[in-house]
Symmetry: C2
Subunit: 376 residues, 2 copies
């Protein structure tokens, strides 16, 4: 792990301010990673993404292994060069997407067999191939293949998933070839603290460069996730980055940072952006609402992103009603900027030792009027 | 026309190098205007558009009068502020779009009645309302309402269209209120030189800040347009900008500049860009072709646009095959950059007195292997 290091600079209770060093630059933590599923953060150029002061993005192994294929990405210089992004990149292992295929997959102890959602081709993913593909893609941080059951799950199913997750993590560790890529383990076990502890203990024995919490934000109420994080996140090794996968809303991020999490990824800023839903310091703005038709004000008067500096809500609404893709681009840009500004605020409060006070103001404020996917 | 002026700096045969001064900056001519139909150049932010060194864009009165409406644009500060574009803007009069509605319109001497393509609402456009709407939109250059029959047209139909175009131009001139907006007349008459001359003579008597050639590139073979331009463009007043509407391919622009035209607009760079067709110095590149799958080279090795500096053909192809809108944005950005670089090359050759030699090289070269809309 010579090319990769992690330092905690300061703590406030369980919350941590740190720095991840990667071959593609430093990442200040707590860090938010926008999602570039197919090696593109939807609608944004890397230059626009850099404007949001994003330092690390996530790309999806499952999508890239099917198209254009890991060998094609490798031939075109690896993921950084391929997508024109000079910052850090993390790739997931493909497991989560495979598990969401439902009908199309079959799991055994060796790995998982599934059919491509693109053309039905049979594909097999094992711990070894998931790592080999991620070695070819060339991200700075790669993830083990895990098994992630939907919640709620029967205890037997969850125990099986943990057993397999640990066995696969051991095989991933053995298969991992590139010393310039960090490898993270993934802790499974649902909301069962004992099962999570058993999983974590075995993963720590194997030894990873970072530890991720998988299988959260998969259908359980936010309160249950918060309670779980409060009880468990602090047990992850203190000298390694802690990554909460697929989470979440601004309120989720603040709760999880409070519990000691360092890294996040989520599609919400871009998915909501494409639908015309903006995160703002005054709560969620739904741009299609008629009340914005003649509104001269920016999305968020407290925001200094390109979208807020340049355009009125009235114009942005016009773009959505007219079907102009520029609308999705501009609101996604704002939403990612909003998330990154939130992370900067948290990091500054942690540096200044004022995180608890900052959090009380945030939690009493209007920005927590969040919109979950699927809400009107 | 105090806020607006035009000077010819140098000529080479009929070709001219000039400068248009507007309240939103100088426009070097010959100039290409990217099309922002609904107050957005499709897929590009104004900042990305500025990177292509575009100085002036076109927006469509017809689309904006229907949605969001001229009053809404005016309330939101006028078109420049509305779309966040600090450079110059030209609005067409809406006539051309109305004439392409076919079944939905009825023309008489007073104006044209049609039904909105959005919701079927009956709308009426007269010379007076076309100008009033453009006064509200607030572009730097506005256009008279004209009648533009499809080619080929019966002589009687074309004569009627010219008579109406002149009568409407006179009413537009009288209705035009804003001294900070230039008003251009539009010459109609198809490919009939005598009819065009009669139309132009009457328009010059009325007096306009610029003269446009309408009704070309509407179905006739390019050769016929070139012959017509060679015979007619030089008759447009030498001290006023000459604008060839809706044209065209790179080869079309070079031919028209040679004949003495100063201004152009066309959807080709963006429409082709969204389809994955790129204009390059080596001819058209079709990105979906399998030959680009592993291609590490940029779209155009001779181009210094953001797309060519940052991405391989292999990555751009991946974006199109994956349905990522970023592909359309990046190729549109390149195509507009290519058009603007072509205009800069022509302007430099005109300044240096080497335009004829430049043109012979261009016409013998591969960049003229152009792709027309609809070709494979």
């Amino acid at each position: 792990m010579g090319a990769f290091s992690f330092s905690v600079l300061r703590t406030c209770g369980a919350a941590r301010r740190g720095v991840l060093r990667t071959p593609h630059g430093a990442v200040d933590t707590p860090a938010f990673m926008p999602v570039g599923t197919r090696a593109a953060v939807k609608g944004l150029s890397p230059a626009q993404l850099a404007e949001t002061r994003t330092q690390i993005v996530l790309a999806n192994t499952y999508h890239l292994m099917l198209r254009p294929g890991a060998a094609a990405v490798e031939r075109l210089g690896g993921l950084h060069r391929f997508m024109g992004w000079g910052g850090a990149i993390l790739t997931d292992s493909g497991g989560f997407q495979v598990y969401s295929l439902d009908e199309l997959r079959r799991v055994d102890d060796d790995g998982v067999a599934f059919r491509s959602h693109l053309d039905g081709t049979p594909v097999r993913l094992t711990p070894e191939s998931a790592i080999q593909i991620q070695n070819q893609l060339g991200a700075d941080i790669v993830m083990v293949l895990d098994e992630c059951p939907a919640l709620p799950a029967e205890p037997g199913i969850m125990q099986d998933a943990v057993r397999r997750t640990v066995a696969w993590a051991r095989r991933c560790r053995a298969a991992h070839q590139r010393t310039d890529q960090a490898l993270y383990g993934i802790v499974q076990g649902g909301l069962d603290l004992e099962l999570r502890r058993a999983c974590l203990g075995q993963l720590v024995e194997i030894g990873f460069d970072g530890y991720a919490l998988g299988g959260l934000s998969v259908g359980e109420p936010p309160k249950e996730m918060y309670t779980f994080l409060e009880g468990f996140a602090g047990e992850l090794p203190a000298d390694r980055p802690r990554y909460l996968m697929g989470v979440g809303t601004p309120a989720d991020l603040v709760q999880a940072v409070t519990a000691g999490v360092d890294q996040f990824d989520c599609v919400l800023p871009t998915r909501n952006g494409r639908k015309g839903y903006a995160f703002t310091s005054a709560g969620t703005v739904r741009l299609r609402n008629a009340c914005h038709k003649l509104a001269p004000e920016p999305l968020d008067g407290a925001c200094d992103c390109y979208t807020c500096r340049s355009f009125s809500r009235g114009y942005l609404r016009h773009l959505f009603l007219s079907g102009e893709v520029l609308g999705g681009t501009l609101v996604s840009l704002h939403n990612i900027h909003f998330y990154q500004a939130l992370m900067r605020q948290m990091r500054a409060a942690l540096e200044g030792g004022t995180f608890d006070a900052w959090r009380r103001v945030f939690e009493g404020g209007p920005a927590t009027r969040d919109l979950k996917e699927g809400e009107p």
